[in-house]
């Protein structure tokens, strides 16, 4: 199943999550090689987001285990997983609408420093993250909007800010849930370019329905269907797989 060339940074064993009888993620064995870009695809409701929620501690598994860099993180809370170097973005844009872009970055950069526990200090101490915050904004092309409220951004810009936030956490493993969903062609290409740049020195797992994105970025593709892994391999191998064609296009095309 796995290419096995790179040592795994993430490994799940028989990972399962049920919601009152309905199994959204069903006995998933997933191995992500360090330094790879890995696409997770599958029809709507396949369990991709649920799997991300399990990996990042937003949901606890019904059974199975998750190891990150050899460490068992099964059932850990997000606030303990994030500092280990595992960050995520959300499928549905999820920001603090009234905060400025720079304030978003300051928060992300301050996370894990302990500075944010200090209720007796002036908020101005967050100013020390100004330069690094601007760098991150620059990276995603939002530097000129640093002082605007996030709520005033266009959809594509919000997705870009999501990326910048996840990057500011300096994750070793980055999980992106549909980074290009709802974007126009131009923004999609910019995002592909951005992910290609940011992949250096880290591992990326992303969900996307856009096969152009998957084809241009992924070293390896995992196809999920009804909570189970249907196929895994390179983009070309998976695309030629009959079970995958059936899953995507229905019986008649098989």
């Amino acid at each position: 199943m796995s290419t096995g060339s790179a040592p795994p940074i993430l490994e799940t064993k028989a990972l399962t999550r049920s919601f009152s009888g309905f199994t959204a993620v069903n006995s998933v064995d997933l191995t992500i090689g360090e330094g790879t870009v890995h696409a997770l695809v599958g029809p709507n409701g396949a369990g991709k987001t649920t799997l991300f929620n399990l990996l990042t501690g937003f949901l606890t598994p019904s059974s199975g285990t998750i190891h990150f860099q050899g460490r068992d993180i099964t059932g850990m809370d997000p606030e303990r997983i994030v500092p280990l170097g595992l960050a995520r973005s959300f499928q549905i844009t999820s920001l603090f609408e009234q905060m400025s872009l720079l304030e978003h970055l300051e928060l992300a950069l301050a996370s894990g420093t302990g500075l944010t526990r200090k209720f007796w200090k002036s908020v101005k101490v967050l100013g020390r993250f100004h330069d690094r915050g601007m760098q991150h904004l620059e990276e995603v092309g939002l530097a000129d909007r640093a002082n605007q409220a996030a709520g005033s951004l266009s959809y594509g810009q919000k997705r870009a800010l999501e990326l910048a936030l996840a990057l500011a956490l300096e994750p070793k493993l980055l999980l992106l849930d549909e980074p290009t969903a709802g974007m126009g062609l131009e923004d999609v290409d910019r995002t592909i370019e951005l992910i290609q740049r940011l992949r250096h020195g880290r591992t990326v797992v992303f969900v996307d329905h856009n096969m152009h994105v998957v084809g241009s970025l992924a070293d390896e593709v995992t196809v999920l269907q009804s909570g189970q892994i249907l196929a895994q391999g390179t983009y070309d191998a998976v695309r030629a797989d009959e079970r995958v064609i059936t899953a995507y296009l229905g019986e008649s095309h098989a």
């Binding site: 809370d77 606030e79 959300f90 999820s94 209720f119 007796w120 200090k121 956490l169």
Partner: protein, 340 residues
């Protein structure tokens, strides 16, 4: 994704982190000075015990606003902290004769201690369920205080609380002078609330209020932050309750009643959620109105204040102070356009 409070979801909160308010450098010290002058002048115009009530209820409502406006948590059991501090302050003053500020600070400390398990349990739920857990705790405390009549005086309340202050008789006996002796404690409470809101910690609170899931994904221990701000808020409520019982010379079961929690929430909403100082304005209006109606011998005070509440909430979504601020910024903006 974002959790809205069931009862107040249509109300706007004025607290934003965005640097839209670029006040001039002299503005803040000037406002502060004006507020201080107003606080000092108050007992010259208003019957001193009522002036003190305004400060106490205002500070109490500020503690509620810290949760409601800046963290997105509606506590409907804050009487637990106001009331427990009222009693502890009284018991300490009666039993030890320590100076009243010490008694009040001990009362506030007790309120914070009680807030630890309360908060620990309450933050596990959100929205209306959070309100219900806090209410349940307050009701439990009410029940306990009623039973422990040996300590609390039960139905009769705790009578004759002294306010020892180094033998300074005017302060110990006259409301006018006591007002000034207690003012620094109220200011301390306000300062702690202000400092918390404008700290890195406060920034995380706003993030939690606006999008708790996002805050978690950034690595913030959302429940931990909520517990800490809950305890800080309880301490501030405790200072207010302690000054209140010291000033009146008694503590009663009324201080622990759900109506007391409700009044604090009402004042907060009236003044403007997420405005902090709006709570003082709301308190000034509500307390003087109640006092005025009482002196008239009016029976249905609740009907009048309730009606006023509904009208203001419907007309001014940001509350009184929030609307004043909005109008002020609008006028400033206009003036800048015209005069440059």
């Amino acid at each position: 994704m974002s959790e809205h409070l069931v009862g107040t979801s249509h109300l706007e909160t004025a607290a934003t982190a965005a640097p839209e308010r670029r006040e001039r450098a002299w503005a803040r010290p000037l406002y502060l000075l004006l507020a201080l002058l107003l606080a000092c002048a108050l007992p010259w115009f208003i019957y001193p015990p009522i002036a003190l009530d305004i400060l106490c209820w205002g500070l109490f409502a500020i503690s509620v606003d810290l949760l409601l406006g800046y963290t997105g948590l509606l506590s409907f059991g804050h009487a637990a902290f106001w009331g427990s501090s009222a009693y502890i302050t009284g018991i300490v003053a009666i039993e030890t004769g320590m100076p009243f500020p010490v008694a009040i600070l001990l009362g506030a400390l007790a309120a914070m201690v009680i807030a630890v398990p309360t908060g620990w349990l309450a933050v596990r739920s959100t929205g209306i369920y959070f309100a219900m857990v806090t209410l349940a705790f307050a009701q439990m405390l009410y029940f306990v205080a009623n039973r422990a009549s040996g300590l609390t005086g039960g139905e009769n309340g705790l009578q004759g609380i002294p306010r020892p202050f180094f033998g300074m008789e005017l302060i110990e006996t006259e409301a006018f002078y006591f007002y000034y002796a207690a003012l620094p404690l109220i200011i301390l409470g306000c300062f702690i609330a202000w400092r918390t809101v404008h700290s890195p910690f406060g920034r995380v609170l706003l993030a939690i209020r606006d999008n708790p899931a996002r805050a978690r994904a950034l690595g913030f221990d959302v429940e931990g932050y909520k517990i800490v701000v809950f305890v800080i808020s309880a301490g501030i409520a405790g200072v207010a309750g302690g000054v209140f019982s010291s000033g009146h010379g008694f503590a009663s079961l009324n201080d622990l009643m759900w109506t007391t929690s409700g009044k604090a929430v009402l004042i907060t909403v009236l003044g403007g959620i997420g405005t902090l100082w709006g709570a003082m304005v709301g308190s000034g209006i509500l307390v003087t109105l109640e006092d005025y109606l009482t002196t008239l011998g009016f029976e249905g005070i609740g009907i009048v204040t309730g009606t006023m509440f509904i009208v203001i909430v419907l007309l001014f979504r940001r509350g009184i102070w929030g609307s004043v601020q909005q109008a002020w910024h609008w006028a400033l903006g206009k003036a800048r356009l015209r005069w440059g």
